[in-house]
Symmetry: D2
Amino acid sequence: MLKPTEKPFTHSIRVAWADCDPANIAYTGRIPYWALESMDAWFESITGLDWYALNVDRGIGTPFVHMSIDFRAPVTPRFALICEVHMTRLGTTSIAHRVVGRQDGVLCFEGEFVSVFVEAKTLKSRKPPEDLIKLFQALS
Amino acid sequence: MLKPTEKPFTHSIRVAWADCDPANIAYTGRIPYWALESMDAWFESITGLDWYALNVDRGIGTPFVHMSIDFRAPVTPRFALICEVHMTRLGTTSIAHRVVGRQDGVLCFEGEFVSVFVEAKTLKSRKPPEDLIKLFQALS
Amino acid sequence: MLKPTEKPFTHSIRVAWADCDPANIAYTGRIPYWALESMDAWFESITGLDWYALNVDRGIGTPFVHMSIDFRAPVTPRFALICEVHMTRLGTTSIAHRVVGRQDGVLCFEGEFVSVFVEAKTLKSRKPPEDLIKLFQALS
Amino acid sequence: MLKPTEKPFTHSIRVAWADCDPANIAYTGRIPYWALESMDAWFESITGLDWYALNVDRGIGTPFVHMSIDFRAPVTPRFALICEVHMTRLGTTSIAHRVVGRQDGVLCFEGEFVSVFVEAKTLKSRKPPEDLIKLFQALS
């Protein structure tokens, strides 16, 4: 288990009308999307490569093998959704993140996510390249 | 824990180009959507009320408090995605489901989901009405 | 302008809670998605290739250059959304469709769509292959 | 026809992996979503009310009756998508916008959109309230 970074990475989401269902809150299915988007932004922040560049330019995919989310409070368009992303584990071919979403200081959801590094074309698992490993290890 | 119904409910998804990312497989974020859609269809099958009718006509919401999904194999447009839905637990104010997705017989994902019954307007938890309880209990 | 086929192709959409906004009707942004999905299903019906197979197996893309939609009545989960798809024009490197969506016989939307045939990798425009041209021409 | 505002309102979109299809470009269906989101942000900018607040707090809906979009160049995650929004017409019960999307200065799409003001509960058309009319008229 790596120590959390001192200043966690955050990604801000504009929650909108389009995201809400007739209960007047964000539809449950949107929340995994936002957690994923926040991890994509985390990769970009740490490595300079978002998932698109990682895949298209470097030939590396990161398919998910697990997600687990607890929904603590409804998400609405009243406030920005601030998603905090922590890398919680770096395995040989996998990486785990914790994502915590808050609105106006209120905990809305928290989730654990595990993805694996693969060759983009074959989807076969592989180690991440050395330059990325160094950047991830520097977070611990 | 309720016994599984003998013939599990299944809901078929047409996976399409629109659902796929540049890895040529369905984007991870789509899978929670399909699991949710399958539970919505399960409610309609068992009670005659989909989430929309349950909410708008009967004033009952079912927000999720938990989801946990293991992704076992990529989902693609090559085959229909058959989602099997089981009610795994009926609590006083909550209900749990297991959703298993397969394509051409291959296990693609499996997940556990917990939602609570609430008053649609106030989002306060409540027991489901008697007629629904009877229908859910008949499954066990 | 090609004559309409005698029995128009239709594609049925299950409109759900997930698609609705706090106005209790399907969110506007969902409707282009459904029109596109219906055209994807049309391609599969006429050629045996959905957009995914057309792109991945045959190396042909069909990016859109135009869409125009008139929204005539709200779409809700009360009824299936039946989308009728007509090919309205087959150009040298383009194809146009008309999509009409109805619920319970009520006209909900009607739209015109134009896409072009391209090499999937370069996005350069090209003629569709002869086997597809024959299938499209047989519709007129 | 109102004169364009001197400094057009712009809304920036983070295009991501999640938005792209196997052609490595944003899926066509995402573009209407982004144009709509940009108009929602425009409302918030001009009136202080996004569509959610306009609907939930003021009881006013703005369903669309028309959209027409020309797609000029692919959208990718390489650059932010800057969406410029102009009010092009203010009718008695309707409002029209023009949305232009650019990446790195390149025109990606341009579209025309018409929505009507309605009572949120009944969906019956109505004039916008005086305070909003004044704010819209001040743009011309």
